[in-house]
């Protein structure tokens, strides 16, 4: 996966570059996506499968593992990310996902779209959109739909 994994708490301790240079986009800068699991959520399957699909679609993915909003935003800034993808099934989304949006805006990075995937009760979807989450992808979402959203106009 041509992406990097950052796993430590606070400031990331190590980066691992595993780019295979397979897909070089010449005309246009690659879309950079920061993917993180929120808080202490335990489920990595969705985030990894999506990260891999985005990679295969030619994007650069920086995979963070479990993180808190402050670190996710710090990484998005450092990596000049175009979009931030959050994943959680634990139920912590109403607390942590809007915080990512809020801190991004505070740092003047409000143009970075934040998307969310996982087990999100339907009632929470309009509330999250209100709080600035660009799109929510629940269980059963075709990955194609996520790729289309991410590669759309930024």
């Amino acid at each position: 996966m041509p992406s990097r994994i950052l796993t430590a708490r606070g400031i990331p301790r190590f980066f691992r570059s595993i780019g295979d240079g397979r897909e070089k986009v010449l005309m246009k800068k690659k879309i950079r996506v920061v993917v993180a699991r929120l808080g202490m959520d335990a489920h990595w399957r969705g985030s990894i499968v999506v990260a891999r699909a985005l990679r295969d679609a030619g994007m650069e993915v920086i995979y963070l593992g479990n993180q808190l909003p402050e670190t996710i935003v710090a990484t998005a800034i450092q990596e000049d990310a175009d979009i931030v993808g959050l994943s959680t099934l634990s139920g912590n989304h109403m607390v942590l996902a809007p915080e990512v949006v809020r801190i991004l805006r505070e740092k003047g990075m409000g143009e970075v779209n934040v998307i969310l995937g996982g087990a999100i009760p339907p009632d929470d979807v309009p509330k999250l959109k209100e709080l600035g989450i660009a799109e929510i992808f629940g269980p059963g979402t075709p990955i194609k739909k996520i790729i289309e959203f991410v590669s759309g106009p930024i």
Binding site: L38, M40, A42, I48, V49, R52, N66, S90, A119
Partner: protein, 560 residues
Amino acid sequence: MSKLFNDNAIEEIDREKSRWKKQVYQPAEGVEKVFETLSGIPVEPLYTPAHTAEMNYLNDLGFPGQEPYVRGVHPTMYRGRTWTLRQLAGFGPPEETNKRYKFLLKEGATGINGVFDYPTLRGFDSTDPFARADAGRGGVAIDTIEDMRILFDGIPIDKISTSLVTCQPICNITVQSMYFANAQMRNIPLNKLTGTSQNDFLMETVITVAPELLPPKFSFKLSCDAIEYCTKHVPRWNPISFAGYNYRESGCSAAQEVAFVIANATACSEELIRRELSIDSFAPRLSFFLSAHSDFFEEIAKYRAARRIWVRIMKERFGAKSPRSLKLRFHVQTAGVALTAQQPLNNISRAAYHALSAVLGGAQSVHIDGYDEALCTPTDLSSLTALRTNQILQLETRVTNTIDPLGGSYFVETLTNKVEEKTLRLLDEIEGMGGIVKAVESGWIHKEISNSAYEYQQAIESGKMPIVGVNCYEMEDEELPVDLFEVPETLQIQEQKLKKIKNERDGAQVRDALGAVARCCEKDGNLMEVIVESVKAQVTQGEISHALKDSYGTWDPPLF
């Protein structure tokens, strides 16, 4: 020993089958679709005695309660005692979960199956900054022994068995110690306690990785410490439940699920023998936790194959003599990953099929998922419906009438052999790497699971794997017919209790208790021996985890 069928009969059947296939069996429009199991084993149109002609009945199948236990671990199976109805429950503060346990017991559950919240499973206190949004989510929050007291208050833990879904060794080493210490404080001797804890190092280092992981070899050590402790002091406790269910949820195939649990159990056995325990002192208490996924027959084959592999490893590799060591006993949970958020009531029928496969495969206990689990923690209604589904299976369907009713099915026996072959190949591969701990350290396991998860997803995306309501028979503008569960306020309650305890406890005792943990790490002693005492000084779970991480350091898992 003689063959199941005589050679002439087999020849005749084969000949007639070829004729049938040519003249009678005609796939629609002459195009043969590809038929295969969920894990990719090709499936033929028809199975006959020829498929099982090479089998030796007594060696390969035998009788229930006898080697090789393929037909069941108990002589009478469900005619004697049916499977335990063990519904998973846990959420919010322990005060709330205690009420749910009492509710389920009143409604006929025959055991407790307690799950802990995300911070507790990873060894964090509810008040840790990392935990602040997850306290009480996915399970019950436990910070100190006081929480454990509240959780089991009024529940006769000397009479009913308790499963503690502690998942990770770093959680188990403290939470299980709290359970034991709490029993001692209730004047219940440890040898009266019955139950199971999960305690699986693959959960910590591969499946549900979190920030600040212990390195695999230390997580593995903690897991073995608990097994050793229980072997010596809590003889009726199953100190580990190899969590194949969770491996499967994160993407494994059926064969990977079985191979990884057995490789893990093999590694634990080797370590405990190195610690001078005899195989027959602990092996009878090693237990397994498997998934019931959507491929009905493959799952049944999986359970049967797992039993056959286990008995051979125990006998041939470890020289086990006690029949109890040779029996692979397992709890089943229906596959959460197979549930859909779309048209959630459909999940009631899905989970019922899953549970039926578990029972036809000879499970010792079964949890059926709530139909709303793709959306939220199960509500009272969905938990009750799941329990009732289990009861209908047990009381109305009469599948319990005879033992291993699918034994001898040409198809099921063939599939059992195929799953066994696939699993043995994986076990050889892991052995070649130096065992499961090495396979985790190198990231091989992570990669295997991630590849399977990706393939699974691709199969759904391409429509190769139909999922009703997701990639076929979708309904637009579907109104969700369910009330969703909301986790009760947890953080504030835990915060208040922790504050009070930290104010009132004896500081010197706490320092001594944590000092004892650090010294035990240094001299490589058995940590559970120390922690069962430490938790009585009101030391928090997070404090003990910090002491362990200070001694052992942390580990960054490889990229999937």
